[in-house]
Symmetry: D2
Subunit: 313 residues, 4 copies
């Protein structure tokens, strides 16, 4: 039955990718990080993998792209594994915001001055400061090693051009980080925390890498191919819940209604999503809609979820 | 297996109710509607019903209370059945807000000036104006009839003392309604729309009534006892998604992480929740936490969800 | 010397009016009150009167127009005369806001929930509820009588078309008033308070009427032509200070720098201003700039103030 | 007559200082800059100087303190002298805000993203970047030289302990500066701009120094003792207008009503104010009220202004 479904996906996917790709012309490639503006606006690729290792892919899956905000899911998980739920939620909240991912409005108005959740920029910067490690370099290495493990890809590394481009121009993130520092949310020197953050955002992946990481989440922290439990199940549950309520910026509510799957997007156009108990999915489509999500990617996931009745709800 | 579980619930529930009831002293009964301040602060009751009609209840289930915000789930569904998705989402958004349920802040700042979602007060007032009916009386009758049908209780009616108390003191809701009118969101006269809203908030129910309504949602719109499809499945899906992302005011994110079930609370202390494919659940506990949810009720649901692994995530 | 100046004004004014009038095409007539949208967009008129009763006028001074927000200066003064400083500033603050005159944002965020100042809409509505009188009719009569006295014009009356137009469409002011009511700022029934407010906004005047009222303020509350003290000096001082800090909506700071005179504008295009110890000035120019002030009127006052070195600073 | 008044001031001042000093116990010394928390909470001193060089002083005038926000008046003037009105108001607005001096809320919400006025922190940081100079050191030197000239005190210099304390802990100002940089408001490197800002805030003065600077403003930019025009009159006019509308943080409106003089306060407890055409006044009282102004200093100025009828209005 699951086999049948992946066969049907295999048959239909190329057609759906081409159909969704037409949305690309209605969106825009991210430009706030100069290096990202070079991404191919018309590209769309997707990779789906199931528990037995069968995979289907279609479109431009050869593209490498940076994880950007998708990495926030995994730094959250690593921080939970390092210091536990209580210590993490002392520094970040659990609520969606309705604001843009980089809004400072809510930081100022809401008591007790901690970021609303770990998937907005302010929250992810706070999480960066919580990851164990004697130095920012050690923290960064631990994040990279964790993602290499999950993706089963030892050659995962940084896109240094994007890293430098982001680090040089990230005045808004710097502003947010100093605001958090002033509110007592950040441990350590602000620039050190930001370096951890910029580094994990600039890890370069393919759709297959994202799909492999997602597969582990889809199977409650266990790599179904090896049987190894890589993440405690509770932390995967927490991560998946945030992916539903806050994973797609301030279009998360709409995505939950139209697609209904845990997902996390990045401004590089990447989306990591999963069908619980079944598939890990990675896609990329650099042309973004107004809310910062891959415009063709969202359209493609809507089609897939409707056709195969994947919504959790 | 499901039978086994309900037997275990039956055995454990009285103990858990008494244990959770101790939270009551840390909360407060709602006072902004004067009539509500008379509710019994130490009360806690729960009713759980499964697809074959078996039910378990414990605590103060004889209490009647008003639906308040719980009714918003069903006016949303009725509006969807009346005019369809597109017309409804022309007037209300799909995003959680992170603000208090009665905040006006977001109404003013966010384009295009429509309420963030149908479960905050502003959104529910907008929904009230969308329900079919030649007059506010006819609209109100249609809502009441719909809830009688879902609860399988023809004697469901208004608590007129609460209705009058709310109508007399609801200056903030009036303020919001005129703001919506100014933004072109409301159809018809403001006071007529508000009357529909105040009436559906003041429908009096028991835990058993809520559990019966929830059972229909748990079975995708079908009453499992009669086999009758009372609500199109897609509209139940929309409602359940909103219950996850926005159902527990600005504690929805935390509830999703700690309980993981679609739910909607009201300031009367009622909570309607469900285990998809299995149980409808109604509970009441008038002592509220800081975010406006039943303090003992949330504690009880956390215990149940953890014990029986009910989280969707 | 003052005589010499008024002779120079007499000689130069017609030219300056024609020169400033060219600005009209860059502005817009107010449309949010439907009746106001009928105002002549190209009109500009000004009337200046000195302590000995000499006057100079130029342009379209025959036009009648409604006082709108200009009346707020005088309801503030009347409330101060009725109940004193302490009672008035218990219900409204003393600070400029930087926000639009009809913004609700600040009402919600600032403690203790009173309007920032008496010249924004929320503040003026609060002031309307403070004016002495057994009924809204009596309050309205007292305001009208006070303005007849100050303008030395017994035939001053309402423009009933504008009154009805404003009363029918003022959903934002209604929203604000109910918000104030909810915060405990308003005494009495909301619709009664709003009626007083709508009525004083719709009092119909000419430039000469405004100039006569302004002359009393310019002479610290005394009518220089009769020697009669119509307003205690301290209350004129308070009013003039607010006119400097908040009189021109959220362009008050710029007006203080470019013109430097106490002034109050209305969306009808009227401006009342004064040169302390010397002139009362009334002008009208219905074409408004982005901030809601007469575009040609502000240009004309800038020319006059610069030429005659009228700035207080 | 003016002589008589200064004799009366001379006779009354010691009594009033002692009477106002009692307010000190109701306030608090600034603590956000650690070094400032060492200021003597019970101190109050005032120095008044007239055009002929006569001066009166009372209380703790021997105290040295840092200028803090008082310096913003003079960096504004220097920037105006360096690049003119148009270039300055391209980067900062002219409107009061109603918010705390260090609020970020308004920066985010208001178009076109420039600070509301040059006297809030964000505006003063923007002004720091506009001062002419090839390096931050040269800019800082020019500011110090300008203040030495105005105060006629060549030994004016930095309090390096306060400078370092502020520079080390100013995370909120850093946050604001990076936000401004992101909005294209700041020229040059953020840390360089902040260094200019922290330096001018930490210039150490006495009441007599402030009074001497204020005297120049009171005489429209001319030092009345030497007859030298140190600042163009128009720029003094701009500065005095801002001192009325925004000089006392978000208590500026109240100060304008209760005192009615152009003034600027700092968190060190200093206040610079002036009676136009007559006196320059410097005072210090480190115990601050809720809005950040010297609590005893404001009380003292209210007494003086009321007694001698100094209000401009």
């Amino acid at each position: 039955m699951s086999l049948t479904e992946i066969d049907r996906i295999h048959a239909l996917l190329p057609h759906w990718v081409e159909s969704s790709r037409q949305q690309c012309s209605y969106g825009k490639v991210a430009s706030y990080i100069p290096e990202l503006s070079k991404s191919p606006i018309g590209a769309l690729g997707i990779h789906i993998i199931d528990a037995s290792g069968h995979s289907v892919s279609a479109g431009d899956t050869e593209i490498s792209f940076t994880m950007q905000s998708i990495s926030k899911v995994f730094t959250l998980i690593l921080a939970l594994m390092d210091i536990g739920e209580e210590a993490v939620f002392d520094k970040v909240g659990m609520e969606p915001t309705g604001d843009n991912f980089n809004s400072m409005l809510k930081l100022e108005l809401v008591q007790p001055g901690i970021p609303f959740n770990p998937l907005i920029n302010a929250g992810a910067i706070a999480i960066s400061s919580l990851i164990a490690g004697a130095s920012s370099t050690e923290k960064s290495c631990r994040v990279l090693d964790f993602l290499r493990l999950l993706s089963n890809n030892d050659s995962l590394s940084y896109d240094l051009d994007v890293y430098r481009s982001e680090s040089d121009t990230a005045n808004l993130n710097r502003s947010m980080a100093y605001f958090l520092k002033d509110n007592g949310v950040l441990e350590g020197a602000v620039e050190d925390v930001l370096d951890v953050y910029f580094r994990h955002c600039s890890i370069s992946v393919t759709c297959a890498d994202l799909a492999q990481m997602a597969l582990v989440l889809a199977h409650n922290g266990k790599n179904p191919l090896t049987g190894e439990q890589l993440i405690p199940r509770r932390y995967v549950q927490i991560a998946k819940t945030f992916m539903i309520t806050c994973g797609m910026y301030n279009a998360s509510g709409e995505f939950a209604i139209q697609v209904g799957l845990p997902a996390k997007s990045g401004v590089s156009g990447g989306i990591l999503t999963l069908v619980p108990g079944r598939y890990g999915i990675g896609l990329v489509g650099p042309s973004l809609n107004r809310k910062g999500n891959s415009i063709a990617g969202v359209a493609l996931l809507e089609s897939l979820s409707r056709e195969f009745d994947w919504s959790l709800f």
